[in-house]
């Protein structure tokens, strides 16, 4: 029997005319909807996740250092950058970071790309300070070369400028070290490093699993957003967009909970009883000790200057 025998007549009606081509793009160019914006966020995030595993596995100076030593050293230097009150120390730290980036085949462009947004934000945030509202008073500038002063002499700006530059440099230093960590360390190496640094296994395992299940939830989120997009003809009103958002969020939450149950069972099934047992990593070698020594030296220097 023909399968569509019971279909209503409107369903069987074929459209004779093609879509009017001239109608495409007609009318006002309205702003992109919530769904589109959400979809943009999801796609760019997915790209970042995928890039994380491809871009960071290369051979380079930092990559050849054992993950826990790498993590320890970069954190020690970041802390040094946060502590120091001396612009020369800070400048040297930034220089060292740039050299590390080059030695690790990360490239300065990539590093600047990662750091620029934070630097710009910090700079904008500090603009009022630039104009001397925050640092009124005499020209008492203990840090920084006097070039700052001569460049902006006699105006009020001179009071604030060095502080602003110092603040922004500090942000640049710490952020670029964090960027360097993420650019030279694959997720797997990071989690092994954390484990060796005695971060409690509950947190390391949860961190990793969060990362891992982001992929699954992202797929669900992307499908949800695409489905929303494919069914939206014209622009949805706010109320229906809100309903759409809420139902998608609840759907993702529900999937997350169901997946969590299954994963828990899959772990129990393979003998997990509450404590994670993993391989102990390879022993540290000469270059790891050198690296730790270097980072500690930077740290101690920052305490004094």
């Amino acid at each position: 029997m023909p399968p569509l025998n019971g279909a209503p007549s409107w369903f069987k009606e074929a459209r004779e005319t093609p879509c009017p081509v001239h109608a495409a793009g007609r009318g006002r160019h309205h702003a992109r909807g919530y769904v589109d914006r959400s979809l943009d966020n999801i796609t760019s995030f997915t790209k970042r996740l995928i890039a994380m595993d491809n871009g960071t596995g290369g051979r380079g100076a930092l990559q050849s250092i054992e993950p826990s030593a790498r993590l320890f050293g970069l954190l020690a230097i970041a802390l040094a950058a946060a502590i120091t009150a001396h612009s020369i120390v800070l400048g040297l730290i930034i220089l060292a970071t740039a050299m590390l980036a080059l030695g690790s085949r990360v490239g300065l462009v990539e590093l600047v790309k990662r750091t620029a947004p934070s630097a710009v934000f910090a700079f904008i945030m500090m603009t009022p300070a630039f104009l001397g509202f925050i640092f009124p008073g005499e020209e008492t500038l203990p840090m920084g070369p006097s070039a700052y002063k001569t460049a902006l002499t006699s105006s009020q700006a001179a009071y604030g400028a060095p502080s602003v530059f110092f603040f922004v440099s500090r942000v640049v230093a710490v952020v670029s070290l964090a960027a360097l960590l993420s650019l030279t360390t694959t997720p797997g190496a990071l989690f092994n490093g954390l484990k060796r640094l005695k971060v409690p296994p509950l947190f390391v395992a949860t961190l990793f699993m969060t990362f891992r299940y982001l992929f699954i939830l992202l797929t669900i989120a992307e499908d949800a957003a695409l489905a929303g997009k494919s069914r939206t003809i014209g622009r949805a009103d706010t109320a229906s967009s809100r309903r759409w958002f809420a139902s998608r969020a609840a759907l993702i939450l529900k999937k997350a909970m169901n997946t969590a149950d299954e994963v828990g069972m899959a772990m129990a099934s393979r003998g997990f009883t509450g404590t994670f047992k993993t391989f102990t990593g390879p022993p540290l070698v000469g270059r790891d000790y050198l690296w730790i020594g270097f980072s500690l030296f930077v740290f101690f220097i920052s305490l004094g200057f």
């Binding site: 966020n41 500038l141 603040f167 992202l218 909970m257």
Partner: protein, 325 residues
Amino acid sequence: MHIPDGYLSPKTCGLFFAAMLPVWYAASRWTMRSPGFKGFPLLALGAAFSFIIMMFNVPIPGGSSGHMTGTVVLGIVLGPWAALIAGSITLALQALLFGDGGILAFGANSFNMALIMSFSGFYIYKALSFGTPGRVRGIVAPAVAGYVAINLCAFATALELGAQPIIAVDPQGVPLYAPYSLAITVPAMMIPHLLFFGPIEALGTALVLSYVRKQEITRHENAAYGGISTLMVGLLVLILLTPIGLIASGTPWGEWSVAEFSGLTGFVPAGMARLGEMWPGLAPDYGQAGQASVLVKAGYYVLSAIAGSAIIVFAIYLWGRLCRR
């Protein structure tokens, strides 16, 4: 609301790490108590959820949109302790893996965004939805919880940032970290949160919760969380908030920082003096060096830094060898 690195002094960062350590420990104990270790993947999936939810734009009346944090949703659905861990995990992943900053400020960010939001959200929701809430209270309770929680979080952030020029200045009184005083940070943080992000979180929380209730996916076992009373948590939060109160009131910390600060995390070259005391054996003739030129002092300091680094590296090496045995 997420505080980037470089805005908080290391001392503040350290303080919040110290404050959060016992909280994380308690949270992990509470969470692991749920039977069958199902709580464990649930934390990860909860954290992943709050990542994803930040990517969805919540449309608010007036044609504008923004994203919600989802921490209050998690607090209500998973319970505050689990949401606290999930929130911290989200922040750690952002800081370490995505390089979004906030490694040193991780403790402070967890305090604001994970601890304050999940607990205040959960208990406000509980308080407002006593008995069997009807339709109106079913919407109002999560909305108020979301609104208040995110504003408390913003307020804590404003206090921490505003305290910086009080506690971290160089000898000339120039702020070394976030330079704005409380008079600026509080309105700068609170106005957008009261007017914009607050309504988004309120609306988002109420919307998601309405669907959650429809699908009956509330999970937190009341038995596990009922053991700790609201009062206890309230007290805990108060105790943890006290240091911020001290920072805010200014005087004790302001005095302390000038004298004590230079020793441990000193900003000034004078910190060298203290470091010399820390390693008396390595800089034995420090007394004379005190009268010598600044350059000689600096030289001594660099030498002792090298020696200190070497000692620690050797200790790590020994420890590694012993552990391997």
